[in-house]
Amino acid sequence: MTWTPCSFRNRNGRELRGLFFDPPPERPPFPLGVVYLPGFVLGYSAVHRLGLHVLDRFSQAGFPGLVFDHAGVGESEGDSLCGAHDELSRHVASGGMLADTIDALGYFGSARPVERMLLIGHCGGALTASYAGAVDTRVVGLALLSPPALEVGEPDAAMPEGAVNQRLRFYRTRLTSGRSWTNLMLGRTDYRTLAKTMLSKVRITVGGAPSLRLNPRLLEAVRTVSRRGRVLIIAGDHDEQIRELNEFMRAVTGQGVTYKILPDTSHGFVTDESMSLLTAELDAFVHAAASLEANR
């Protein structure tokens, strides 16, 4: 077993809890640490313990790792983050998780023999990873998994086309489900999303796909880190924002940024095939970063 529970206080005095992943004793650690930032606000065990799996793998290869829960999330102290998905997404996209992340990087650097760091972030965690990488010069690499590329707009903003189509496919499968119709009748359906999906589909059909408002902070952060190190962006071909991410990549082209689209892969990398492909990409990325550091 390679992990050790850890905790530290953030700048507001809240105790944040996490796990260190240390290389086995017989393996001298690289001075390159890996920090994993999970998506949304569910904590580090979501989704399917992806971050734990990744950090455990890299610690076996000699890279110290850290995962932690931000204030108000998972095991950590702080007022619980509650609310509609859009509100919480705006909180994350506007940098609401950044301060704790900066504090965590400082703690990691002081508690482990780590001189430089790679950040791996999934979904909203990818946004936070990029923002942190832009301001902490110890960060020499970003691996952004399924990053939401759009600026998170007001609640009435149109949905991305991929998201609309994905939800319509889902609703289509429920047409013959008695339970779904019962839920609809009894008010247990998410009417807001249903209405937004339908309205967005009508808008796209009549007026074409809405113009994209890319997240400018993400753009700038990726450019900043790519000047200092490497950035790897990975998404599945069935990610609901794949069209928007492709557009984002057209805007961000430059040396130091690699973009990989994995076949038959969703936003959450839930199949074995997706996980194998993802792991291979991350392995190559981390080991290439280690080689660069060794030659620096």
């Binding site: 569910l42 313990r49 455990d56 095991e75 998905h85 069935h238």
Partner: protein, 241 residues
């Protein structure tokens, strides 16, 4: 996964039993909040999860083994028989602990009462996952289960649930109001989704309540209530009886 929070001092003891798989992550904060809520009222609280110490994607849900682990956690908390609170499959384990005398009182949140039906739900989730991965359903339920028998695990939400778990869940007994009638005085059930199940238990003379305002991230990720105070209060009131 890390061990649950340590046991703290207090005269009354409660063990909180989380559900497995992605429901664990989606309800973790509610359990952390419940723990703090109960501790503030003088309870000594420990948490239990099947995910303890796991850093890979595998999951084992063999009822007898999990039941023994829950019983051990209850006995480890020491002293008089503690109370147990469980959600979904965690509630199934909680009611077993009560029926077997390891706990003095149980409060169940939206319990899984029929493990075979629970397996059907997991299969439905696996089918829905294909829509987001492939854009269509490529593999029928039968094909997925055949694949599980071949590989030794069933893939659901990215977790590898062992075939032994599926086999065990298929033969695990259903919990009905009749099967736990002897525990009627020490059992409370709280629902917010399954109205018919709630009515069945209430009509059988059990303490059952329906709280329609509760919405955890398990219910619907579109609204994330990680601090459901009404649920905490209803649980506390029942634990204090």
């Amino acid at each position: 996964m890390p061990p649950p929070d340590s046991v703290s001092a207090g005269p009354r003891k409660a063990l909180l039993v989380s559900p497995p798989l992605e429901e664990y992550a989606r309800t973790l904060r509610a359990f952390v909040g419940l723990g703090a809520h109960l501790e503030a009222k003088g309870f000594s609280v420990a948490r239990w999860s099947s995910a303890e110490r796991r850093v890979d994607r595998s999951e084992e849900l063999v009822v007898a083994e999990l039941g023994a682990s829950v019983a051990e956690a209850l006995h480890r908390s020491g002293g008089e028989s503690p109370a147990v609170v469980g959600l979904r499959f965690g509630a199934y384990l909680a009611i077993r602990a009560l029926a077997q005398g390891h706990a003095a009182r149980a409060v169940l949140w939206e319990p899984v009462t029929d493990p075979r039906q629970y397996v059907r739900e997991l299969v439905r989730v696996a089918l829905a996952n294909q829509l987001t991965t492939y854009g269509t359903v490529r593999f029928s339920a039968e094909m997925l289960l055949d694949e599980a028998r071949r590989t030794g695990y069933f893939l659901v939400d990215g977790y590898r649930l062992s075939q032994a778990s599926l086999d065990d869940l298929e033969k695990a007994p259903e919990v009905t109001p009749e099967s736990v009638a002897d525990s009627r005085q020490s059992l409370s059930l709280i629902f917010w989704r399954s109205k018919r199940t709630f009515e069945r238990w209430r009509d059988s003379g059990f303490d059952a309540v329906f709280l329609p305002t509760v919405r955890l991230a398990w219910d619907n990720i579109r609204f994330f209530d990680s601090n459901p105070v009404a649920l905490y209060d209803a649980t506390l009131e029942r634990l204090q009886r």
